[in-house]
């Protein structure tokens, strides 16, 4: 494979797409598929066949269009109309409207803030390409960055570009990506590995899933560039078995890439080899922790181990290993293509670029969004997210899932980046945002997250294993109207103990939901304990008895 061949593929694909005057893009990512978008796509194809218009009209499946709440979504090019909640019976009407004005009853308003206020880097191909065809990715300049890196750049200049871009790990910790790459490059060893962490497990988070389902080649390309930069020739993608569609599309993407020679041996006629293998997680949340993930790939029980040594020096089978999140890798090809200054132009001083968030909970526009770092929470929740369902009042937004905390109305105007969220007692996390309104009881929310952590703790270290069970027991007592003031004191003590003495990130961050709800909503806790009442009316205060 040489550049000319790559460009030839792009040219043929562009010509193929160019012959169609109209393209109907039907979202076939998990959200829309679950409300019947596959049948819808088939109906469009049948209708096009029936009318004999296949010469100038094409219907295809594409990745996530973002506004998951209104699925199945269909976008029509070139007019860029987006139709929501389309059913099979709407198909003839939409095709009729191709040459006229859009079907107003189904169309989303084109100046909707949900679409206008986003800044798409990772999601640039979403809703535009068929994730199961490598040609469409190449037609949008896919694998050009890999070519440029292999042919025109040294590994250190690739790393320099990543360092200068200011990219930080998108898995939650926000560790500078360039620094991690440098460490792995400098670590000595004949064998090195690149691992993509796709074990997304936070309740309410679906960013990585959407990336893998909608644009899998972007992740493969990012991994290959990383492999070249750090000197690794093997990569693993550790993806949850609960994401069958992502797995299917990844497998297909890897096969296509190997067939074209953009993965495998002697990529682009250089001496660089890179192969990617899939490893499926068996459902343990803790396997998203990097040392547990490595243990799991090695075939052992997914227990974390103490760091240091960090995986960068002593990782998979004792070899230097680079572990990054899906979204981090997905940023890499664009940074190589457009340069570090371009990337650093987005975001804030210490958090460059954009972040993908999954909006969920009590919000009108549930879905997947990407905004520049530094966008305020108010913009995200009320503009892009469309606010809270009518008749209700915003209460808090939980960022970072079970490891994060809640952020209240008074802090909605902060610019979202790694450091501002940490200051508020939450974390950026992988990007799940769960919005809560006056119908949510914050004690109940804390109990939900603690229960999640209790069942997902691996059981290796004592504070996490037993502390989580004790916290859950206390919260359970409080939400059943049996709490006493000393229980609140005990909860505070447990939070401090677990946070400071646990072995891995799961335990260290587990108390965050409890601590932040106790800080911002102390009155709700007191109402449960003193008045034996749940202000939101969620908890059954008279249920009594032991659990």
């Amino acid at each position: 494979m040489v550049l000319e061949e790559l460009q030839e593929i792009a040219k043929i694909e562009n010509e193929r797409q160019g012959q169609f005057e109209h393209t109907i893009n039907v979202c076939v990512a998990a959200g829309c598929l679950s409300c019947g978008s596959q049948e819808l796509l088939d109906a469009f194809k049948r209708e096009i066949d029936k009318r004999g218009i296949e010469k100038w009209c094409n219907a295809k499946g594409v990745g996530c269009l973002g506004l998951c709440t209104a699925g199945p979504l269909v976008s029509v090019e070139p007019s860029s109309t987006i139709y929501k909640a389309v059913t099979v019976s709407d198909v003839p009407e939409i095709i009729d409207a191709l040459t006229g004005s859009p079907v107003s009853r189904l169309a989303c308003s084109s100046d909707m803030s949900f679409f206008k206020k986003q800044q798409k880097i990772v999601l640039e191909n979403f809703g535009a390409i068929d994730p199961e065809r490598i040609e469409e990715y190449i037609a949008r300049r896919g694998y050009e960055s890999l070519f440029a890196a292999l042919r025109d750049m040294t590994p250190s200049s690739v790393i320099e570009r990543i360092v200068k871009s200011g990219l930080r790990g998108r898995g939650g910790g926000g560790y500078p990506t360039g620094l991690k790459w440098t460490t792995v490059m400098k670590a000595s060893g004949p064998q090195k590995y690149v691992i993509c962490n796709a074990d997304e497990g936070d309740p309410g988070a679906f960013m990585d899933r959407s990336v893998l389902e909608s644009d899998p080649h972007r992740v493969l390309e990012g991994m290959a560039i990383a492999g070249y930069a750090v000197g690794a020739d093997k990569g693993f993608i550790y993806v949850r078995a609960e994401y069958p569609l992502a797995i299917k599309r990844l497998k297909k993407a890897i096969a296509q890439a190997e067939q074209l020679g953009v993965l495998g041996r002697g990529i682009f006629n250089t001496t660089f080899n890179f192969e990617i293998k899939l490893r499926l997680g068996a459902g343990a949340f803790v396997c998203g922790e990097e040392t547990a993930l490595i243990a799991s790939i090695e075939g052992s029980r997914g227990n974390p181990r103490p760091r240091p040594p960090y995986p960068a020096e002593h990782g998979l089978w004792g070899c230097p290993t680079l572990i990054n999140n899906v979204e981090t890798f997905a940023n890499v090809p664009t940074i190589i293509r457009n340069g570090s200054d371009w990337f650093a132009g987005f975001g804030t001083e210490k958090s460059r670029g954009t972040k993908v968030f999954a909006l969920a909970g009590r919000i009108n526009n549930t879905g997947l969004i990407e905004v520049a770092m530094g966008t305020t929470l108010r913009d995200i929740v009320f503009d892009i997210g469309g606010g809270i369902p009518e008749g209700s009042k915003f209460k808090a937004v939980q960022t970072g899932g079970p490891s994060g905390g809640c952020i209240t109305e008074e802090h909605l105007d902060i610019a979202v980046d790694y450091d501002s969220l940490t200051k508020l007692g939450s974390i950026m996390g992988s990007g799940g945002m769960i919005v809560m309104d006056s119908t949510s009881c914050m004690v109940d929310v804390a109990k939900f997250f603690v229960e999640f952590c209790m069942t997902e703790s691996c059981g290796k270290c004592v504070p996490c294993r037993d502390g989580s069970a004790q916290m859950y027991h206390l919260l359970n007592k409080i939400t059943r109207g049996q709490g006493r003031m000393q229980d609140i004191h005990l909860l505070e003590k447990l939070c401090d103990l677990i946070k400071n003495t646990s072995l891995c990130g799961l335990g260290m961050t587990m108390p965050n939901p409890v601590m932040s709800t106790m800080h911002y909503f102390k009155d709700e806790y007191l109402a449960h304990v003193i008045d034996k009442a749940c202000p939101a009316g969620v908890c059954n205060m008279k249920s009594g008895g032991r659990q």
């Binding site: 103490p306 997902e456 059981g459």
Partner: protein, 238 residues
Amino acid sequence: MKKVSQIQTLVIDGKEVGGRHDETILQVARENDIFIPTLCHLDGLTEYGGCRMCIVEIKGMPRLTPSCTTLIREGMVVTTNSERIMEYRRGILALLFTERNHICSACVSNGHCELQGLALKLGLTHVEFPYIFPKMPVDATHDRFIADHNRCVLCSRCVRVCHEVEGAHTKDIMGRGITARIITDLMQDWGESKTCTGCGKCVHVCPTGALTEKGKSVAEMEKRRQFLPYLKLMRERS
């Protein structure tokens, strides 16, 4: 090649001490008669880092660090017994006591139990957290040994000694979090195990009365641990 000196000096609890670069804080502390409590650590087995009893403060590091898995560094300043650390250790120990059913007065290891010993040593006089009282099984199917899960602290010493020293890997852990427990083979009865060699190493490394020999009454089960450093020494020689 010139041999580089690998001795590093550090300060533990105000005392200047030295050690090899590949020694842990715990090893150097013990060589210098500085007490750090441990539960999952045992000389001769790989470090586990799970019990969190040996946490120490290192100057300049915001986080508490387990001394059993942290190698020494030149110029380190370590505190092993500040009031904050002692409070955390008592908290962790208290959690361990609530987790299963530790009834000392009816236990074969009464008086020889490391969990009990630590409680005495650290001054844990009462437990604030509610006891969980889980229903745990007792496996007495083996001819010579008993596994009583009521007394297990999941330190994994038995798992490690069986895998690393005996090479049988009969013991392992199943389940997650609070439901995790030690199993024999793929959760068979111990007496049915085809892999167990009956060497009894697991029994003698167990810190509590969870693994014991049959035929012992209250307070009669004294563990013999001398074999482990001896085995290790002999292996290093050969």
